[in-house]
């Protein structure tokens, strides 16, 4: 073995000697760097120089060649890069960079992009796996910082509405807003006076450019509402309960009195789906290509629109279903029932994932915000409640409304709109990612008829209102996400871009079985089955193959390897392990004792009176 390492030992000093002989010319800009290097390296530099002068041929000192091996490189020990950059660097001209290093990122912005929950501890794993996981975590962290940094490049700012000191924004009327804003925005406020076929339900396409509405007396129309160009207008000669765009503006589904129908953008009926009858509400899950329908018969049916198959038909066993919404974060369907509960459904399960008791009376409306954090419900008890959907579904705030809200909708930036007979109220949260505070409405608006449908337009500060008198497009500054992503929902996409997006979207259609409460669960370590597998393996093999082997002391040289010393060393390690075990069990014990002690205290003893 020694012979193997010999060549290395031979070569090194030779190389070093060559380098010491050849004096590297010093550049004028290297002056500082080399000085710092000399300062940082161990040993006095002057001594080194003298050494070299006296005996240039044979440097005996082992340290010497080591030092001179990297002459120009300043020796920064293991400082993180950012810190190093913080020191002001001088240019050739002598000017200093006033903002050295990368720009700082506010913590909350970085948190928005963070995907790993560091509070979750992984099970004990081998060092190799652990180090791999650590590397992956560090990469993810870096990515989140980079993404947060790219936030700077976003072009648009969100809208806002502020009253002058003491002025209540809820008192500001639409006409005043229309007067104050630019012409293009003012054109977004309009009323369609359609008293004949009222009350209307409406829906915006996912990109936010197209509007479809259906009147209860059969009037169905779609239009490009930005340019006000009518795409199609038909009368289906049947009651229309709900209308919904499918994945693009080219297709929309209409829940008619009897069956579910699908039309294209010219108003041609493509499909009549008789398996879905007496549908009252429609929801479309764009990433799964599922159309969820709730029916009078009490069935929740999932229709895969890409292949035209019914994926699941679930009986909610709660009578007529006419309150439904989707959670955009995890594609779970929320159904409101007449007994005051809201049930959460996924097509993979016959039973609801969860049931939440929300109201004393029946539930009238449900809405979930785009991050999937908050759910707003209103019931027959005239209450409007906001629930936290993370964890245990706790109610956060509640408010009694004089009439109770019949319709609810969340906007992209978390504004909550409620339709109460002919009045619409909009509430706003305090800051980013906070629930809407129900004390003061942000805006109110009175309509010419009773509200029948509410929908915030994506990527535009507009709230669409369907009522018995027609359609109203209301301006709500600050409602929508200002910066869209061109590869997801692009309002300005061309036909070619739409076609390509459609192919991509179909290729990565998420299977319906993957719908669950936590969509990130797929990327996490399945600890339960991992441990189960391990247990089974141990049972099958009859021993634990990953168990640590008992400590075997290595034999030492020069007579220190006597049997007694070997036994001593082995015992030392064993004792240490034993001590650790005892310490661990001691740490756990007091918690157990506390648990035990409480019930004991509850039972009083006759002797307690003597205790001082």
């Amino acid at each position: 073995m020694e012979t193997a390492s010999k060549p290395g030992r031979d070569v090194q000093p030779k190389k070093a000697r060559l380098q010491t002989k050849k004096k590297k010319p010093r550049r004028y800009w290297e002056k500082e760097a080399t000085l710092t290097a000399a300062g940082a390296s161990p040993g006095p530099p002057r001594n080194k120089k003298r050494n070299r002068e006296l005996r240039p041929q044979r440097p005996k000192n082992i340290n010497l060649p080591k030092k001179s091996r990297i002459p120009g490189k300043p020796q920064f020990p293991k400082k993180p890069r950012e810190q190093r950059n913080l020191e002001p660097q001088r240019n050739l001209s002598g000017a200093q960079d006033p903002f050295p290093g990368p720009a700082p990122i506010p913590e909350e912005v970085a948190r928005k992009f963070r995907r790993i929950d560091k509070s979750k501890k992984l099970p004990h794993s081998k060092s190799k796996t652990r180090s791999r996981l650590e590397v992956a975590e560090a990469e993810e962290e870096e990515i989140s910082i980079k993404a947060a940094r790219s936030e700077l490049l976003l072009a648009e700012e969100p809208g806002f509405l502020e009253g002058e000191d003491g002025e209540d924004t809820a008192k500001i009327r639409q006409a005043e807003i229309v007067e104050a804003v630019d012409i293009a925005s003012a054109a977004k406020h309009f009323d369609l006076n359609l008293r004949q076929f009222g009350p209307y339900r409406l829906n915006y396409s996912p990109v936010g450019r197209h509007l479809a509405f259906g009147g209860h007396r059969g009037h169905v129309a779609t239009l490009d509402w930005v340019t006000k160009r009518l795409m199609c207008e038909i009368n289906v000669m049947e009651a229309v309960r709900d209308i919904r765009f499918l994945h693009s503006e080219a297709l929309f589904a209409v829940a008619q009195n009897r069956w579910l129908h699908i039309y294209d953008n010219q108003g041609i009926e493509l499909h009549c789906i008789r398996r879905c009858d007496r549908v009252t509400r429609l929801e479309f899950l764009p990433f799964h290509f599922l159309l969820a329908t709730a029916s009078e018969t009490g069935f929740l049916t999932y229709l895969d629109v890409s292949v035209g198959k019914i994926v699941a038909a679930l009986n909610a066993r709660a009578g007529r279903l006419d309150v439904m919404t989707k959670n955009p974060y995890n594609a779970v369907i929320h159904l409101g029932h007449s007994n005051g509960t809201v049930s959460l459904w996924s097509p993979a399960m016959k039973e609801p994932l969860a049931k939440i008791l929300c109201h004393r009376g029946g539930v009238r409306a449900v809405a979930v915000d785009s991050t999937g954090t908050y759910m707003a419900t209103s019931g027959l008890d005239h209450q409007l409640k906001i629930f936290d959907l993370r964890g245990m579904f706790q109610p956060l705030s509640a408010r009694t409304l004089p009439q109770g809200a019949g319709h609810l909708a969340f906007s992209q930036r978390g504004l909550l709109a409620a339709g109460m007979s002919d009045v619409v109220n909009i509430w706003m949260g305090q800051g980013m990612a906070s629930p809407p505070s129900l004390e003061q409405p942000y805006l109110t608006h009175r309509l010419s008829g009773h509200v029948h449908g509410l929908h915030f337009c994506p990527f535009e500060d507009v709230l669409g209102l369907g009522h018995s008198g027609g359609i109203t497009s209301m301006l709500v500054p600050g409602a929508a996400e200002p910066n869209f992503d061109g590869l997801e929902n692009n309002p300005y996409r061309s036909q070619k871009q739409r076609q390509e997006w459609e192919v991509k979207a179909l290729l990565e259609k998420v299977p319906a079985e993957l719908i669950c409460l936590d969509p990130r669960a797929l990327a996490e370590v399945d600890v339960i089955s991992l441990e189960q597998e391990k247990k089974e393996r141990i049972e099958r093999l009859g021993y634990d193959p990953e168990a640590k082997a008992p400590f075997q002391p290595k034999p030492k040289q020069k007579g220190r390897s006597s049997t007694a010393s070997l036994v001593k060393r082995r015992r030392k390690v064993m004792d240490k392990e034993h001590r650790d075990k005892v310490r661990q069990s001691l740490e756990q014990q007091p918690q157990k004792q506390e648990k035990k002690a409480k019930p004991l205290k509850a039972r009083p003893s006759a002797l307690d009176r003597f205790v001082r």
Binding site: F113, E167, Y329, E460, G542
Partner: protein, 445 residues
């Protein structure tokens, strides 16, 4: 009242002319990209399926030999040139780009036992059953010249293998002993023996160039240092090792192809436990060669298949076979790490892709980006059962498939017996020998 409405100028979002590229503004906000993980999972699943669809590794078959191909050698300087020696004493030089034989030499009488190229690529050496070592020029003879070796050394015994030093004009042969020769001399510089048995192959270490490894038919692997003139140490295994190959990136690591269907990766410093036991073949492993990256190696087996193993995994990642390929005798991984060549009994040399689904030729930057992205996705979701099943699935010929089943049953029976013995004996009296230690008989220094 202060009010600002969201009002976008379409000119900022729509291209000006039809010749422009479409504008695609990005926003990486996670709420605008919901279902990130399920969508990535579906993409990974699609990528895995496509990988299996495009897995067409077989590239070409080079035919021309009139007997089984016994040995292969790579050209050190030219990727396109390959040398092969056959069982009838014929040596052929092939051009891989043209897939043609460019030169044929009747080098020996009887088998060509070994072939190796000089590190400069100007000449090559062959040993044969006629007890000779011959050095040949890489270029063909000029017009009117006869095909003749540069040098011929007539030995006393049969040589069974040859390997050239990676930097100096020295080569080693094996037979009854390991001989180290200077190219200029007709007698060996030194010859080393340890026991009296025929040595089947000898290999120089490509990094620590003075080290040699050899394997003999008395089941041992012997390591030598050229400077010492005596062997360093040896390890005795259960069965005979056919050949070894040094890792070109890690000086201490070598892999041995064994008759007991396994391959063993050893760390030269600790021979008593192999670093990894690679099991998947169902017959004797005849040859092994490392990829130039040192991360993987390919093995050729008597079971008519070749397999690719990652160095740190005990199971193979790939198996190649065809209906016509018989017992594979020799295998080589090309120096650009993209292709694999194997020579087999039925006189053909086959060319395979090292990565079965890889697209050959120049990739555009978008193709490359898509490939890298898919690769990362596959890596990320590789442990999901559905993806794992698709990625692992290989079609096997019936003979190999049934052999695997049979061996699985045998292994299970042995394991069961071991567990039973453990259960019914006094605790501590029966110890469990791990798989890695089972096959090592002894280490001698």
């Amino acid at each position: 009242m202060k009010v600002k409405m969201l009002s976008r100028n379409p000119d900022n979002y729509v291209r000006e002319t039809k010749l422009d590229l479409q504008r695609v503004p990005r926003n990486y906000d996670p709420t605008l990209h919901p279902f990130e993980v399920p969508r990535e999972y579906v993409r990974a699943l699609n990528a895995t399926k496509l990988e299996r669809v495009f897995a067409k590794p077989f590239l070409a078959s080079l035919d021309g030999h009139r007997d089984g191909v016994n040995c292969l050698a790579k050209h050190p300087k030219s990727l396109a040139t390959v040398l092969s020696g056959a069982c009838d004493g014929e040596v052929r030089i092939w051009n891989l780009t043209k897939r043609k034989c460019i030169r044929t030499i009747q080098a020996h009488e009887g088998f060509v036992r070994g072939i190796c190229t000089r590190f400069c690529g100007t000449s090559f050496f062959t040993v044969g059953d006629d007890k000779t070592v011959k050095q040949w020029k890489m270029d063909g003879p000029g017009y009117g010249e006869e095909e003749e070796p540069l040098h011929t050394i007539l030995g006393k015994t049969v040589y069974t293998g040859i390997d050239h030093h990676w930097k100096e004009a020295v080569f080693a042969t094996c037979g009854q002993q390991v001989d180290i020769w200077d190219e200029q001399r007709t007698s060996p510089i030194c010859s080393m023996t340890w026991g009296f048995d025929s040595i089947s192959s000898v290999k120089f270490n490509p990094i620590e160039t003075f080290l040699l490894g050899s394997c003999a038919s008395d089941r041992n692997i012997v390591l030598y240092d050229m400077r010492q003139a005596t062997p360093l140490k040896k390890v005795i295994l259960d069965m005979r090792t056919n050949t070894i190959c040094w890792n070109p990136m890690e000086a201490f690591i070598f892999t041995a192809a064994n008759e007991d269907y396994n391959l063993y990766t050893f760390d030269m410093r600790a021979l008593d436990t192999p670093v990894m036991v690679h099991m998947d073949h169902v017959s004797a492993v005849l040859d092994v060669d490392y990829s130039p990256t040192g991360k993987e190696f390919v093995s050729a087996s008597f079971d008519k298949s070749i397999r690719i193993f990652p160095v740190d995994k005990s199971r193979s990642r790939e198996v190649y076979h065809t209906k016509r390929m018989q017992h594979v005798i020799c295998v080589k991984w090309t120096s650009d790490s993209k292709y694999i060549m194997c020579g087999s009994d039925e006189m053909n040399i086959r060319l395979w892709k090292a990565n079965a689904s890889e697209k050959l030729g120049v990739l555009t930057s978008r193709e490359k980006a898509a490939k890298d992205y898919n690769q990362k996705l596959k890596e990320k979701f590789q442990h999901h059962p559905h993806i794992k099943r698709i990625a692992r699935h290989r079609h096997l010929p019936k003979s190999i498939y049934s052999q695997i089943q049979e061996q699985r049953i045998m292994k299970e029976a042995r394991r069961r017996k071991e567990v039973n013995r453990l259960k019914h004996s006094k605790p501590g009296s029966v110890s469990i020998v791990p798989e890695k230690k089972k096959h090592i008989v002894a280490v001698v220094k």
